[in-house]
Point group: C2
Chain length 193, copies 2
Amino acid sequence: MENRKSQIIELALRNIREKGYLSFSYDDLAKELGVTKASIHYHFIKKEDLGLAVCTKLKEGLEKSFLNIEQAPINSDDKPWEFISRRANEIGNNEVCPLSSLQADYNFLPMAMQESVQQLSIMEIDYLAKILDEIKKEGKLEITQDTGAFATLIISSIKGALQYRRVVGEDLYSIVLDQLKLLVKGNHEVRHK
Amino acid sequence: MENRKSQIIELALRNIREKGYLSFSYDDLAKELGVTKASIHYHFIKKEDLGLAVCTKLKEGLEKSFLNIEQAPINSDDKPWEFISRRANEIGNNEVCPLSSLQADYNFLPMAMQESVQQLSIMEIDYLAKILDEIKKEGKLEITQDTGAFATLIISSIKGALQYRRVVGEDLYSIVLDQLKLLVKGNHEVRHK
DNA sequence: ATACTAACTTACTAATAGGTAAGTGTCAAT
DNA sequence: ATTGACACTTACCTATTAGTAAGTTAGTAT
């Protein structure tokens, strides 16, 4: 992709993590790049176009993360947490997950973006469920029959934790992550000893 | 409190659940009430004043919920879920938790509101932790030593779930709630049979 | 009747938003 | 040398935002 165009997408993505889709303006981006508002409009005629480009980038990133984890040389037990950590590490302490941010603005997004956000939301849970399925196959996970439901719990809590973290401080995210790990491990150990 | 004033607070609260603090305007409220924008400004000179009034109301509601649950004639095992359900039932399918909504706009809130949101965020977790402590005292909860950490997990996942629900559909919230209940009960049963 | 107050309306401001039209400078291909 | 595409800028438009100042109306107390 052209350099400037992807630069703008990256900038918009950071702004979405920090402020949300509705709360960043073309002028914000223009000032950060040292150009005029109209220059951003040249690359992305409407804000919706830029928003959709960001969604596409998020989708690509999600797919890449999943494929990377699937063939990573680590224990399948660790894969769910590695999947989550890698994605969460891209989010600063003063930011939230970009998908959460888009969900927060959901009622005001143009329809095409709503569809994309919906699709991404489901995809992320499904990918984690697939990763959990592998552990289950190996007999290492019995905490729940329903990996889809368990994946939903994990993703929900991580997203919630990242939003809380920005308000009440860094610790909160790792507390939640540790609790999740403890639940899986604790249960597993109890049943197999 | 005067009728109109509390009516405006209620309306602002609903707007925050639906749209967020930044995305509702005095004109929105005015149109819904059939009055002019300036009339809202008469009751709440600045938007921040209205925002703080909403925060106060949220705080009162949270305290009331906690006190009601503490002295409710139900098993202490059920109290955490009753606490959560009662609060979640006030949130429509097209809305999110008002506190989550304020957290999403956190970086743009006036400082006084940021402080209030931070306080509320901590309070809610602490109240749930207290409810969990009672179960622990009765020996009915051994899933975790740290009720504070477990309360953090529960609140995070519920908040995350409510935000997902609006995007991907009603089921998601009850899936997460069921998973949480299953984790507590499952673990308890395993250890005591 | 007068004065006072609560709850407004009318009419405005300045700032910011997304978006557009027309023009400018730079470069590469012909 | 000319054309044409690319990446812009200048200058504008309309709508919306929070907020303000001044006037109006209805009811209440004296």
